[in-house]
Every structure is written in structure tokens, then in C-alpha cells.
Symmetry: C2
Subunit: 366 residues, 2 copies
Amino acid sequence: MAVFTEPPGTPVLELDTPALVMDIANVEANIARMASFLAGTGCKLRPHVKTHKTAILAHKQLAAGAIGLTCAKLGEAEMLVAGGIHDLLIANEIIGPAKIARLVALAHHADVMVAVDAPDNVAALGAAATAAGVTIRVLVDVNVGQNRCGVEPYEPALRLARQVAETRGLRLCGVMGYEGHLMFVPDREEKVRQARESMRLLTETAELLRRKGLEASIVSGGGTGTFDITGAYPGVTELQAGSYITMDARYRDLGLPFACALTVLASVVSRPRPNRVILDVGMKAISHEFGLPHVLDVPGARVTKLSEEHATVELDDPSVPLTPGDKLFLLPTHGDTTINLHDRYFVVRDGVLETVWDIAGRGKSR
Amino acid sequence: MAVFTEPPGTPVLELDTPALVMDIANVEANIARMASFLAGTGCKLRPHVKTHKTAILAHKQLAAGAIGLTCAKLGEAEMLVAGGIHDLLIANEIIGPAKIARLVALAHHADVMVAVDAPDNVAALGAAATAAGVTIRVLVDVNVGQNRCGVEPYEPALRLARQVAETRGLRLCGVMGYEGHLMFVPDREEKVRQARESMRLLTETAELLRRKGLEASIVSGGGTGTFDITGAYPGVTELQAGSYITMDARYRDLGLPFACALTVLASVVSRPRPNRVILDVGMKAISHEFGLPHVLDVPGARVTKLSEEHATVELDDPSVPLTPGDKLFLLPTHGDTTINLHDRYFVVRDGVLETVWDIAGRGKSR
């Protein structure tokens, strides 16, 4: 279906709304800052595409030194391969014949790596890869405290790693462990302590594998909330951080050295009373599981309610001159899920639309 | 980008996951039941497309007697017109030159009706319609207690209605008021009392317009949670209910006479301990602003956490035989926002895939 988008050169405030606005200068600065931080460590960046879901941004990350991309879903990996990306980690278990068939198909066109945490899955992956004549790289997924997927560290991980190493069609590369439960630990010292403990489990498990003669050259973990702890931890070789590229209000509140690059431009559609305006953006265009979005640039204005297609904004100052048609920027509290609601980025530099990028990975949850 | 979907005839449990599964027999029964209820009233159905976002389902509603469709967004209306639907209410204010230009363009191809709550907007709509040589039908949006958009009942509504009637290019048709704040009032008697009070404000405002010689043949309101109250209220001519077609856990818990027709099929991807399984469905494929999704058909299993691409399910009975690759149905607590995460329905009858429908209105928040 035809979509109306404004041409390059349009001032951002002349964009129709809702518009997912990406400040590309801030994105570029975030990419450079992460590269610069990791240059001083033994750790490489394999950024997570689940945040931006777009091959062009993945290429920019590679150009700045990233060694490959991390994906949550097979569909995201397919999108990246279609966009010319070759070295991919799908940091989840790929389960079932339909997905395994797609995985081995993808392995004809890219160098893919997957996580495993169960013997049956290892056997199924190996059989499919062997039948297709491809090799799938494998990391053993280790539970480092998040208590989601993953085998327990040490012996259980070793057992599974040994099976991987002995399975035709698979190539054991090491371990991964995601300390996702620690991203927002409020006390910095406590976060450092816990993240190091998680990475101790992971790196010691890798060391155990090596002692037993198994390959563990890759030790992968970390997110934006722990980038400087996990990324600097001795023995961690790859960092999976994703959100740093766009940031959001929740990560901003951690005081990280990255700039917010993502807003949703909204229009006032009604001003039913002096201290209230209604915007044309609701939960179908901005997520709120981590809190209501923030209103930028209007002191004393705050979102008090989101319905499906509206936001209610209360104004401390009823003399603020906002009338229907006026536009406001909302800062999402969660970038990843907000991006996943939109079909395109309106890419802005210095307040002017530079280009529009399709979010090809949006909705690729399969 | 190519998408892998299974062919018609595939058993539902052989669909890859996540899959948004629509039980089409339940959808058909819901359409018939709503038509049957309204046949006994003076009220017609103008169902809301914001739930299903799909022209083919809109046509089924029209075939069962609906007089047109209701939309939240201009982009939804454009999608429906492209799908051959002619009589449309956009039950929101259409603000700003970009959207008004699209609205008058749409009026060349369909009979559109919009809501207004401000004089400047009425003037802008009239000028654009006149310049384009089209007529836009207009309802005055009346605040019946939701406190979102809308003018106050009686005199304020009358003043705006008079302006609409006097504006070239516009045709005043009546009033609308959405008692959205009452859909989930738990006490039935209290809900009946409050919904009737809302509709009293609306119908008396319509009556005031008529007494003053203004057109008010359309009085539009109601949602799925008040369908039998608002739909039976004397003087209400059109019901805007949308969610009845698919339902969800929250509406189901109201005891409405409609069947749940929407689930998300998920796969177990890990069983890290006997009383826990991890599914491949998270908040990017099922919404949770109204509560975590429900696990169907597995007694004692409940979702305890959603992350972006995973659900954690705790099992009361650790002997439940669920292993990676096994599939579960999740019932969303909010259908509208869950549908808005997906690109297609997997349409199932008697447990077998009948067809796949693109959700063309997904993400049409502009």
C-alpha cells in the first residue's frame, strides 16, 4: 500500500505524525563512542540487531569495527543476510524442523552461529547441517543468573560442549551468557559486583572447556547496561550490546555515555482544557512497559495516560501555548519495542529530514 | 523480503511460531451474534477496524449488516478504501495540512466522515474540502466522560455543530461520544448506570441540535464492553464496537457472549528446570499492558514474565511433559495491540490452516 512520506530536506517539525525520528548524528556518535571504549579492551563488539532491526545501521557498526552482528530471531538474521551481512550470532536456541531448515538454508549464504542448551537440539542441528552439507557454528548458552534459557555453568555446560564438538555438521566455538537481569540494577557498585560474578561463571566455564581440550575462543555476553563492566572483564571476547545505538529514557537514566537518538514526533489533536492536551500517539506507536514516555522541551508537561492511539499530557502551566496541529517530541522509555511498532525511521540531521529507512526487521519474531 | 508461511491444509500445531492464529469459525459466530443482537434494536453496527485492521474482515461485517466501518486513523481508512470499503467514519480529529490533504483526497474515492472538536479544525476541513470540490461528513465529538477529545455536551456541542452546518464543504450528520472509560467497570449495574448516563448526554445533545434545526441523524458511540447497553439505548443510531470480532482474555472475563478467536501459538525453546519452560514469544509478539497472556490447555501453567522475545512459564506440575519444540497457545489479554504487532493472520478452521491474511492496517498510526 502506498505510504505518504515527506522528501529529504523537510524540516523535522513539518513531518506528519506519528513519526519515529532518528537523530543520525547521535547514532553516529554512539557507534563511535562504543568502538572507542572497546578499543581499550580485549573485547570486540557484536552488536545486537534486535534494537535497530536495519541492515544499513548494521553496516555502519561493522565499518566502525564490529566483528559481526547478534540477532534474537532467525527472521532478523535472514533480514541481515539479505542486506549483505555475513557473520551472525543468533543468540537463542533454534528449535523445531521448520526453523532448523531455514537455519541450514541461511548457512549456505552466511556464516551463522547459534546458541544451544539441550542435547536433542544439538543432535537435530547436526543432522540437518550434515544433510545440507553446511557447518553451523555453535555457542553453549550458559545461565549466568538470568534464569531464562541456558545450561548451568561448569560441568553441565562442559557436557553439552563435548556433545557439540563430537557432532558432525557443527563447530563448537565457545560459550555465551547474557546477564540481562542486571542491566538496570540501580546501585552501580552492586551492578559491577553482580556482573563480574556472572562473567566469572562464564569465563571460568570457557576455561574449563579449554582445559578439557574443547574450543572456546568465543566468550560472548553483555548488554548496554553492562557494556563497560562485561566489555572490560578479562576473558570476555564479544559484547552483545544493542540499545546503545539509539538509547531510550530508561538507559539514559543510568547515566551511560551515549546520547538519546530516538524520539516519536506527535501532534496535538485536542486541547480539551487549559491544563491538558491530547496527542495522536498511543501505545500502538510508542511502548510503555518500562514507563510512560517523556515529553521533551516543554517544561511541566508529562504524559499521564496512553490509550491505543492517544496520549494524554497534563501541563503544570496552563498558559503553555499548545493548540491542535502543534508538535511535540516524546522520548520512549524502551527503544527496542517502540522501534518494533514502526515501519520506518525518519532520519534527521540538524533538524532536517535526511532520508527515510525501512525497518526491514520489524515484526520478524519468527 | 520473502516470508515463509505454511500452505493451506497444514495442521495448526505444525505452524511455525510465533503465529497469530485466528479461529475463523469463532470470528464468523461473533459477527453473526452481534448482528443478531442489534437486529432487535434501533441501532446499526459500524464496527471499529482498529481491532482487526483487515479489509476482508470488514467486508464480512458489512455482509452481515454493518452499515460502514469506523477507523481510528486516516491510514486505516486509506487501507479500507483500497480494499473496496466506501462508508467510513474516522472517529477522531484529523489535524494539520498533511492529513487534511489526504482526507480530501480520500473523499474523491469514498464517503468519509470525521469527528471534530475545535472551530479552527472545522474551518480548515471546510476550506480544504471546498477547494477540492468534495463534501466531508462531520460528527461533533462530544465528551461523554472519557475526558480525552471532544467538546462538552449541550451548548458547546451546539455551537460547534452550528459552525459545521454553516461551513461550505462540510455536511453535519450528528454527534459521536465514546464511553471508553466504562468498558471494564467491574460491577454490571454500575456500568449500566454510567453508560446510560453517558448516552443520555449524547442523545440529549443530538436532540438539542435537532430542536435548533440542525441535522443529527447519526448518534454514534459504544464499544464491545457496552455493546448491549449503548446498542439498546434509545436514540443511539450507530455502535462502534470492534473487539467483539476477536475478543481477548480481558473481554472474555466480562462474560460477553462472544468467543475468543485469537491466540498466539508459541514453541517451547527451553526447559531449564522441571517447573519452568521458556517460550519463543515475548512482548514483541504479544501485548501485556492489560496483564500477562494466559496459557491455554495446560492446567497449572502460567506466564510469569515476558521479555522481548521470550515468555517464562511456571508449571504447578513438574511432570507436565513439555519439551523444546512442543507448542502452546497463548490467549492475549489485549487483542488490538497484539494484532498490531503481527504482519499476518494464520486463519484456522477445525484445527487446520485455511488461509493466511496480511494485516494491511498494521502500524497505520499516521
